[in-house]
C-alpha cells in the first residue's frame, strides 16, 4: 500500500469518523427500538387473543417477507405521500426498527414456547400472577434462550444500516463512496469500510458471548 492512501485517509478522517458515528447511531437506535417492539410482538404472538395473534402474525410475515431495502424506500418515499414527513435518518430508523421487531418477535416467541409448560404451572401453583410469572420465571429463561440469535439479529441490523445510504443518510458507506468518487481509491476505501463494519460486529459478538457467560446457569 502506498502512502497516498494514508494521506487521503488522514485528510478524510472527519467525514469518516462522522459516518462511522452515524452508522453506530442508526444500528443502536434501530436495535433498541426494534427489540422493545419485538418483545411486545413476541408476547402477542405467544399469549395474545386469537384475533390479535392473527394481526401480529400478519405483520411479522409481511415485514419478514419484504426486502429491507424496500422497507427503507417505502418508509422514506411512501410515508411522505400520506402526509407523514420524516427526514431520511428518521425514516431509515423506522424501517430498520420495524424490520428488527419482526425478527426479535419471532425469537421471543420461539424462546417462550421452548420453555416447558411445567414452569408456568409451578409459577401459578405458588400463586404468581401472569405478569409476575413472566417477569421472574419465563422472561429470564427466554432471555438466555434468545440471546445468541438476538446477537445475530443485531449484527444483521448493522449490515442493514448501509442501505440507508440509498436515501442519502450520511453513514459510513455513503461517506466512503463520496471519498472514492474523489480519490478513485475504491479498493482501499471499501476494504477500510469493511474492516470498520467487521470491528463493530465482532464487538457485538464478543459482548453477546460475555453476557451469555455471565448469565449462564450452573448445572
Amino acid at each position: 500500500m502506498d502512502f497516498a492512501f494514508l494521506d487521503q485517509l488522514w485528510l478524510a478522517r472527519l467525514p469518516l469518523i462522522k459516518g462511522l458515528g452515524v452508522s453506530i447511531s442508526i444500528s443502536f437506535l434501530s436495535i433498541a427500538v426494534g427489540t422493545v417492539l419485538g418483545i411486545f410482538v413476541g408476547l402477542a404472538l405467544t399469549y395474545g387473543y386469537t384475533p390479535m395473534q392473527w394481526l401480529v402474525r400478519g405483520y411479522t410475515d409481511f415485514i419478514r417477507g419484504t426486502p429491507v431495502l424496500v422497507l427503507v424506500l417505502a418508509s422514506y418515499y411512501v410515508l411522505s405521500t400520506v402526509g407523514v414527513e420524516l427526514g431520511p435518518f428518521q425514516a431509515g430508523i423506522l424501517a430498520l426498527a420495524v424490520f428488527c421487531s419482526s425478527h426479535v418477535g419471532e425469537l421471543v416467541r420461539g424462546a417462550l414456547q421452548s420453555i416447558p409448560k411445567g414452569q408456568t404451572e409451578a409459577a401459578k401453583a405458588i400463586g404468581l400472577t401472569f405478569s409476575q410469572t413472566f417477569a421472574y420465571v419465563l422472561g429470564p429463561q427466554a432471555l438466555r434462550q434468545a440471546l445468541p440469535a438476538w446477537v445475530n439479529t443485531a449484527a444483521e441490523m448493522v449490515k442493514a444500516s448501509t442501505l440507508l445510504s440509498i436515501i442519502g443518510v450520511g453513514e459510513l458507506l455513503l461517506r466512503t463512496q463520496e471519498l472514492i468518487s474523489r480519490t478513485f481509491m475504491s479498493l482501499e476505501f471499501y476494504f477500510f469500510a469493511g474492516f470498520l463494519y467487521f470491528v463493530i460486529n465482532y464487538s457485538i459478538e464478543r459482548f453477546g458471548r460475555y453476557v451469555e457467560r455471565k448469565t449462564a446457569v450452573p448445572s
Binding site: P116, G118, Q119, E121, A122, A123, K124, A125, I126, G127, L128, T129, F130, Q132, Y136, V137, P140, Q141, R144, V217, P218, S219
Partner: protein, 256 residues
C-alpha cells in the same frame, strides 16, 4: 357453612367432547391424608389439577375452607373469576409435580423464596429465613445455593416440596411426585411426605406407590373412568376391596 377443608360437588370436566370427570364428589377434613389411586386415564391427576385451577372445569363446584374455587355465579350465569382472584386462591393450595418443575435459573433457596417475596410480600430476609427453615426440614440446607441442574432428582423434588409448603398452604397436592424418580431416590421423597403427614398437614396424593398409600393415608379413593369407584380406609381398600374393578386394579399394581 361446613367444617370441611375441601368440598368437591359433582365435578365435571371435558376435553372437547371427551368427558374425563363424570361427576366426582369428595369431602376432606382438616388434617386428613387422602391417597387417590387408579389406572392411568381414570381422571385422578385431572381432579387434582382442577383443585388449583390448572385445569378449567365445566360443571360442579370445588370449595376450600368454604371459598368457591375458580368460578362464581353472576346473575345466574357461571363465570370464571378474575385472573387475580384465581392467583390468590391458588395460594390456598400447594402443589408438587411429577416433573419437579423447579425454576432452573434460581438456586434452591431462590426457588423457595420467590413466592414468599412476590406473593406473600415478605422482605428478602424474612423469606430467606423461611426458605432455609424448610430446606433444612427436607434435609437440603447445605444445598441451598445449588441450582436445580446441580441436584439429583430426589433432591430437586424435595426442594419443590419445600417451595410449595413454605407458602403455608391449607392443603398440599402431590401429583405422582415419585413417578419420575429412579427407584433408589423414591424413599427420600416419601420420607419427607410422611413427616408432613405426621405434622398434621392436609394432603391429597395421587400416587402409584401402593405400599406408601397404605401406610400414610387416612383414607384412599379409587378413581375409575372419571368417577370415584370406591373409597374407604386403607386397610379395607387394600385388604378387602369391595368392587371387582378395585380388586383387578390391585392385582396389577405393585401392592403385595
Amino acid at each position: 357453612m361446613t367444617n370441611n377443608l375441601l368440598e368437591i360437588r359433582d365435578l365435571h370436566k371435558r376435553y372437547g367432547t371427551v368427558e374425563v370427570l363424570k361427576g366426582v364428589d369428595c369431602t376432606m377434613r382438616q388434617g386428613e391424608v387422602i391417597s387417590i389411586i387408579g389406572s392411568s386415564g381414570s381422571g385422578k391427576t385431572t381432579m387434582l389439577r382442577c383443585i388449583n385451577m390448572l385445569e378449567e372445569f365445566q360443571g360442579g363446584t370445588i370449595s376450600i375452607d368454604g371459598q368457591e374455587i375458580g368460578y362464581e355465579m353472576v346473575n345466574g350465569v357461571r363465570r370464571r373469576k378474575r385472573e387475580k382472584d384465581i392467583a390468590r386462591q391458588r395460594a390456598l393450595t400447594g402443589m408438587a409435580f411429577q416433573q419437579f418443575n423447579l425454576f432452573p435459573h434460581m438456586t434452591a433457596a431462590g426457588n423457595v423464596a420467590l413466592g414468599l417475596v412476590k406473593v406473600k410480600k415478605m422482605s428478602r430476609d424474612e423469606a430467606e429465613a423461611i426458605a432455609e427453615k424448610w430446606l433444612d426440614r427436607v434435609g437440603l440446607l447445605s444445598r441451598k445455593d445449588h441450582y436445580p441442574g446441580q441436584l439429583s432428582g430426589g433432591q430437586q423434588q424435595r426442594v419443590a416440596i419445600a417451595r410449595a409448603i413454605a407458602m403455608n398452604p391449607k392443603l398440599m397436592l402431590f401429583d405422582e411426585v415419585t413417578s419420575a424418580l429412579d427407584p433408589e431416590l423414591v424413599n427420600e421423597v416419601l420420607q419427607v411426605i410422611k413427616g408432613l403427614a405426621e405434622d398434621g398437614m392436609s394432603m391429597l396424593l395421587v400416587t402409584h406407590e401402593m405400599r406408601f398409600a397404605y401406610e400414610v393415608s387416612s383414607r384412599v379413593i379409587f378413581m375409575n373412568q372419571g368417577r370415584i369407584g370406591e373409597e374407604g380406609n386403607p386397610r379395607e381398600m387394600f385388604l378387602k376391596p369391595k368392587t371387582e374393578r378395585l380388586t383387578d386394579f390391585l392385582k396389577t399394581s405393585s401392592f403385595n
